[in-house]
Amino acid sequence: MAERVNADPAIVRWGRRMNETFMVEVGETQYLITVVAGRIEKVERGPFVMRSWRFAIRASAEHWEKFWRDPPPPGWHDLFALLRRGEVAFEGDQRVLMSHLLYLKLVFASLRAK
């Protein structure tokens, strides 16, 4: 993730004011992603003990796998597409998530197999 995002100024620009740590859950596996000025500073793999995060985005491994196909199938191509299906959960500070929504969508889409 860090490699793909940090190499793409068109993604970094939308996260320029983002300095946060958020959680991504892929099934049972937890990741903490730290963003500094739009660059992915750190990707840590859990399990974690008493760590803080601003918001979490959780979905099953199977659903992420569909989301990350290139091209993704219809209805699996966007975080909000998963939200309408009820296949993703947004937790924590929704304000921060919504403030950086475009950046986050681009970050997740950048992981698609190329």
Binding site: D78, R84, R95, M98, S99, L102, A109
Partner: protein, 281 residues
């Protein structure tokens, strides 16, 4: 240099007893075709239809910015009022008033998303005054799956958040230049306008119980839905088809929620045969 044949003008039109300055664009001659943009955006979405010589040879294409959207202002005194909110009655009245004011006689009305919804209402209430209806991304109702209050929040940049919502509704196969043009329109919306439109789309404008009464023998109804749309998905349009006899439905391969704007070329391939059929009837 290339200058497009589209002409944009301002009309002063009375809506709900108040004067409104409404911006509209038009091109072509023939059967009037009135185009309705999506929630929180404006008539620039129809730039390709307005620029298509094959269509404008036989159709007078008109696309207006709804009040509060694009270059149409809110009515004077808006600063002293409550939040902008779109309702079925307000939307229907606006469309019929604009059509009358611009002298569009028995127009074809084509709308997308909220426009695709109101087309169903027009089929119920104004079928005899209209030549045909084209619903793009039509669904009878969409239940709330995110909270649109975040799109109108002092600590969230409205332009960025609205742009992000629109971005995801498009197909990953659409050309990036047209996708980002569409995103930009959303980024330019006024505070609370997208949210106000979604009041109609996600709460008030539920036509599920009534669409069975649509009579397509009075006014033909065409439904075109992009397969990548998850807001008004092909399944939602199919649910309309199951209730409305005689409507015609095509799924647009590889397109998302804003077909006319996110991938104009692919969309026109679906629209032209529909307009051909309307022209011949």
């Amino acid at each position: 240099m290339r200058i497009e044949p589209i002409i944009g003008r301002y009309a002063h039109i009375e809506l709900e007893g108040r004067e409104h300055r409404v911006y509209f664009e038009e091109a072509g001659e023939g059967i009037p075709l009135l185009c309705l943009h999506t929630a929180g955006s404006d008539a620039r979405q129809y730039r390709a239809v307005l620029n298509d010589a094959e269509i404008t040879r036989r159709f007078r294409v008109v696309a207006f910015d709804m009040p509060w959207h694009g270059k149409s202002s809110p009515p004077a005194g808006w600063d002293k009022e409550e939040d902008y909110r779109l309702t079925t009655e307000r939307y229907t009245g606006m469309i019929m008033s604009v059509a009358r004011a611009l002298g569009l006689e028995r127009p074809v009305v084509m709308g997308c998303s909220i426009g695709g919804r109101i087309v169903l209402e027009l089929a119920l209430k104004h079928a005899r005054e209209l030549r045909a209806l084209i619903g793009l991304q039509s669904g009878a109702f969409v239940e709330r799956y995110y909270d649109p209050a975040w799109l109108d929040h002092p600590e969230v940049h409205g332009g960025r958040a609205c742009g992000a919502v629109a971005y995801g509704l498009m197909s990953p196969l659409s050309p990036p230049s047209e996708v980002w043009e569409t995103v930009w329109h959303y980024m330019q919306g006024g505070p609370g306008v997208f949210t106000g439109d979604l009041h109609f789309y996600q709460l008030e404008g539920d036509v599920r119980e009534r669409i069975g009464a649509i009579d397509t023998s009075v006014c033909p109804l065409y439904l075109l839905t992009g397969e990548y749309d998850y807001s008004a998905s092909p399944r939602d349009t199919q649910a309309v088809m199951d209730r409305v006899q005689g409507a015609k439905f095509s799924i647009m391969k590889g397109l998302g929620h804003f077909p006319m704007s996110e991938n104009p070329e692919a969309f026109l391939d679906y629209l032209r045969p529909v307009l051909q059929e309307i022209h011949e009837s």
